[in-house]
């Protein structure tokens, strides 16, 4: 499936040219508890990279650190060769590193069109125009429609987001995220809580949106990971215990005891 198997644990500055995101020794404490412990991670440009691990391993916290939704306790992150360690989430997003959330993050009282338009407004330059009618941003409607179409929601653009099924909310969230045309997309458990009928289309959608960009995803469904991902990083108790191709990682005895055993049940 993939020939990428560079087992390098700690990426060096020299390799950052083909790595879109490099985290060096990042940690995060909550009081005395180390949720993320000295994690170093490199995401290759153009790859689909999975971050897996048991519940509570620190995956979401990692995402929060990488997108600067949470400040780092220590460590350094660079994106596209630029040090983003000191930036805030909004600035990181503008640089092209955008995430979705584990718990669906749509705007429930906005229509689907408005949900996507809000994201498009971020770079449109009229977001503070309080004196103009909403018609001032009607040029965005066409693009918003395209994005909704891309995730199969074109027919329901005037529904409120709260009226969507769970699976469609995830799709809407992806459309909203794509509105920023991110270079790197971070998806936190995109298939969590979905029935079989929703998993297949979402997997196809992820593959589609990964064309021309890089995707880092947290995912519990291992068949999704094995079909989608070029590379897998395994996290346990806030630390990386394995990193490599799906085949290599799934053979790793540490991983088998820490993670796979639990998942087999």
């Amino acid at each position: 499936m993939s020939e990428v198997a560079a087992p390098a644990r700690a990426p060096t500055a020299a390799s950052s040219a083909d790595n879109i995101l490099v985290a060096e020794n990042i940690s995060r404490r909550f009081g005395a508890f180390l949720a993320v412990n000295d994690v170093s991670l490199a995401v290759r440009r153009g790859s689909i990279h999975a971050l897996i691990g048991p519940n509570g391993a620190g995956k979401t916290t990692c995402f929060n650190l990488l997108t600067k939704a949470l400040p780092l306790s220590s460590g350094r992150i660079s994106f596209n060769g630029k040090d983003i360690s000191a930036l805030r989430s909004a600035d990181v997003a503008r640089l092209g590193l955008v995430r979705s959330f584990q718990i669906s993050a749509t705007f429930p009282n906005l229509t689907l069109l408005e949900n996507v338009r809000v994201a498009l407004q971020a770079t449109y330059g009229k977001a503070f125009h309080f004196w103009r009618s909403i018609a001032a941003v009607k040029d965005l409607n066409a693009r918003a429609g395209e994005l909704l179409d891309q995730v199969g929601l074109a027919g329901s653009r005037d529904l409120l987001a709260s009226e969507l099924s769970y699976g469609k909310k995830r799709a809407l969230e992806i459309a909203t995220t794509l509105a920023l045309e991110p270079d790197l997309l971070l998806l936190d458990e995109p298939t969590a809580g979905m029935g079989h009928e929703d998993i297949e289309p979402i997997t196809r959608l992820i593959r589609k949106v990964a064309e021309g960009r890089t995707v880092l995803l947290v995912e519990h469904n291992l068949s999704v990971v094995s079909t989608l991902c070029d590379r897998v990083t395994v996290l346990q108790h806030g630390q990386i215990i394995a990193d490599g191709s799906y085949e290599a990682v799934s053979r790793d005895p540490l991983v088998r005891t820490a993670y796979m055993g639990e998942e087999d049940a």
């Binding site: 997108t67 939704a69 805030r88 989430s89 909004a90 600035d91 997003a93 503008r94 955008v98 995430r99 959330f101 993050a105 749509t106 705007f107 429930p108 009282n109 906005l110 229509t111 408005e114 949900n115 338009r117 809000v118 994201a119 407004q121 971020a122 770079t123 449109y124 009229k126 977001a127 503070f128 125009h129 309080f130 004196w131 103009r132 009618s133 909403i134 001032a136 941003v137 005037d158 529904l159 409120l160 009226e163 909203t176 995220t177 509105a179 920023l180």
Partner: protein, 318 residues
């Protein structure tokens, strides 16, 4: 659409002939508080920010406008703008410190600032301290149009209110208003999409204070006096009551809420302290039984009636 136009036309006719049947000062009071409640609604209903100190903008503006009119031959509209300007600048300063706080912390900071402003107004010489500021003249509008007579002045207040309420409508239906609604729904998501929510909330706070300032300025010219009550906690509380009573986050709800409270206060004036208790009971009943407020409940009922069509309009048109 036509139905909306018809309702608007009827409302306009009613507003135009109202002072023939109703005491103009009562009508003007309702209009002032409709603006004030809308300003509060902009903040809480659309930006999700609860202010416990909105009276500071209302009261300060009332004093500034009164002082301008008393101490200079300034024309009426400039005096109103002057009051508004001062409360806008005040919000820009208070907002700088308050806006990064969320929820009850934000509310407490606004309360603290309003207590401070109250104290300053109490001590300042130009306000007349405990006696308040009496005998504010209604200088000519644009230096030309005489508005001393309340019947005539009503139409000026009506015009200014229409303008203010249009501005409110414009703000909540603008590109900016769309982002505000998104922030109210899910602030971290807005940040993750590359926008800084506190900048939007800051602007909303300032805009809200401008409208509150206009309401206070108008009030000073309607009653021709300004008192410490205008800047006090009960006024901050009353605007919360009006907004919740009418329907938070609905366009017209808080205006109705303002009318209901003003008329009730007028009717219950003879009861003294009991008026306050009546207010409290009403608020309790609304919070327990009519969570969406007067207009919110009606809109929900109508949406239920003609189910599929109206669903998404509840918020937009109410």
């Amino acid at each position: 659409m036509n139905k909306k136009l018809l309702i608007a036309a009827l409302a306009l006719v009613a507003a135009l002939i109202a002072p023939v049947y109703v005491y103009p000062v009562l009508l003007m009071t309702i209009l002032c508080f409709a603006i004030f409640a809308s300003s509060f609604n902009l903040l809480l209903g659309y930006a999700g920010l609860l202010s416990f100190g909105h009276a500071m903008f209302f009261g300060t503006s009332a004093y500034i406008t009164g002082w301008l009119l008393k101490s200079s031959p300034i024309s009426l509209e400039l005096a109103l703008l002057g009051g508004m300007l001062v409360s806008t600048v005040m919000a820009a300063l208070v907002g700088l410190l308050a806006i990064r706080r969320a929820g009850i912390q934000f509310a407490m900071i606004t309360l603290a600032f309003s207590q401070f402003v109250y104290f300053v107004l109490l001590q300042a010489h130009f306000t007349g301290g405990e006696n308040g500021m009496q005998g504010i003249p209604r200088n000519a509008l644009f230096g030309l149009i005489d508005v001393k007579d309340s019947f005539h002045f009503y139409y000026v207040v009506l015009g200014v209110s229409a303008l203010a309420l249009f501005l409110f409508y414009r703000i909540v239906n603008s590109p900016f208003g769309e982002i505000l609604r998104a922030i109210k729904d899910k602030e971290p998501r807005v940040e993750s999409l590359g926008m800084k929510p506190e900048q939007f909330k800051y602007l909303a706070f300032i805009l809200s204070a401008s409208l509150a300032g206009l309401a206070g300025a108008l009030k000073a010219t309607v009653f021709q006096f300004a008192t410490l009550t205008d800047a006090s906690w009960p006024i901050s509380g009353e605007v919360i009551l009006m907004t919740l009573l009418g329907g938070l986050g609905t366009l017209s709800g808080p205006m109705f809420g303002a009318a209901i409270v003003v008329i009730l206060n007028d009717e219950l004036a003879g009861l003294g302290e009991w008026a306050l208790i009546a207010q409290g009971v009403i608020l309790l009943v609304v919070i327990v039984f009519f969570r969406r407020g007067f207009v919110g409940e009606i809109a929900a009922l109508m949406a239920k009636w003609k189910k599929p069509a109206a669903k998404s309009e509840v918020q937009a048109t109410a």
